[in-house]
Symmetry: C2
């Protein structure tokens, strides 16, 4: 496969920047430089992939044909305004920032959003990552599709509006589910019970929802209208925030 | 393996009664009779496992050595009072009802709670089901342990208090997570996006939480304190109940 980009710069050194840079490097891409507000993190990442750290965006190599901006949402716009115009293409990796946010940058601009959760301590299989892509022209869009395919994931061409909806669904699926698991584990732990007791149920929850759909999978006190069990449960939750979650989800299930 | 019980009656014809009866039958247990308030359902189940339907609890065979009461929580106590005293042992299958609720029944009474979610339309692998067991004497407890092992699952000896805590954690892990998946799918659907786009994220969410723990796995706008994304998301959720869930979980994540 021909590489759609020959010289890439990465801006950012967080979870997404780190995962992407390492994967691109592993697939033979030439990542020449890293910039991050957090210089120490940039150095750790640069060392891993054999790139140089730049301390100022003005030092970006003007010959780069792609700059990937993988930073927090609010930091994208200020960075875009400092990117050299000679650099061919720039993309950001955010699920919730519109394409228009980087339009004052370069001639070719786009979005390359990996629909996955990344942490520095955990390696993720890129072959399974869907990429949501968007660009201001067909040529860059095609290149981003190739970029996604070359590191393994399927590419979905989405508008900024659609991407934001996917991002919302992703936050609910990942961040919120993870927090529920956190609360479950908290309950088990404070009662001296092993986490593993819930793993078979957790696996079945996901498999069932995928296979027969969550609408047909719903069971439990909320959907049964079992108010005495609901009352008992609420009495066991020690934190007000946990009770609020219990009540909100129960009401929502009962409104179906 | 010797069977700890030779003649079993099942009371109930819902999801748990059906799954248990079919599995016990498949493992060679002799289930002689089924009773349910819903006679039509009892007949469907009885046909599946070759048992007879009884129309009144007074008709229960006095020679049964185990009656399994798998009905809604509130229905347990009224049933217990009608079970013949000659029947050796009775158990219920509820996560949230105390052992004491069936003590007015027979000499030997216990709890046999399968920690899994059941629906009639989906077959579950019993080898992976943990059973939470409890009994009023060591002999019945040992028999229930054998019963659990003989149909495949691991047995955990828990007090009624511990079982209620596990049940709460199970409701959060299964019922609440399933509802979040329901909302995610609802969002994708109304925007013309395929459900499968979120499956890799969903798988990674669970694998990550199991391997590194949910505390270290938390990412997203809530934990980052990204209030502009949170605001955008709230604007996209069409139902007040969905907004309430979003706010409650976000606040809880931010209180960590």
């Amino acid at each position: 496969l021909n590489k759609p980009f020959s010289k890439i710069g990465i801006i950012g050194s967080g979870n997404v920047a780190t995962a992407l840079a390492i994967e691109l490097k592993a697939k033979g891409y030439n990542i020449t430089e890293i910039y991050s507000r957090k210089k120490a993190n940039a150095e750790i990442l640069a060392k891993k992939i054999g790139a140089r750290v730049i301390e100022d965006l003005a030092e970006l190599n003007p010959q780069l044909d792609l700059v990937i901006i993988a930073v927090t949402d609010d930091a994208i716009a200020p960075i875009v305004s400092k990117i050299k115009k000679t650099i061919k293409s720039i993309v950001h990796t955010s699920g919730s920032v519109a394409l228009s946010a980087i339009k004052k940058g370069n001639e070719n601009y786009g979005v390359f959003y990996p629909l996955q959760t990344f942490s520095k301590k955990r390696k993720v299989d890129f072959k399974k990552i869907p990429f949501c892509i968007e660009a201001n022209n067909a040529k860059l869009l095609r290149k981003l599709r190739l970029l996604a395919k070359s590191i393994g994931g399927e590419a979905f061409e989405l508008s900024s509006k659609q991407r934001l909806q996917v991002h919302l669904a992703a936050v609910i699926t990942n961040n919120f589910t993870n927090h529920l698991l956190h609360i479950s584990q908290f309950i088990l732990k404070r009662n001296g019970l092993p986490s593993k007791i819930l793993y078979p149920l957790l696996c079945e929850t996901i498999e069932k929802a995928v296979k027969i759909g969550p609408a047909k999978s719903q069971t439990g006190p909320a959907i049964r209208g079992d108010s005495s069990t609901i009352k008992k449960h609420l009495g066991l939750l020690p934190k007000a925030h946990q009770k609020d979650i219990y009540i909100a989800i129960t009401k929502s299930i009962q409104s179906l």
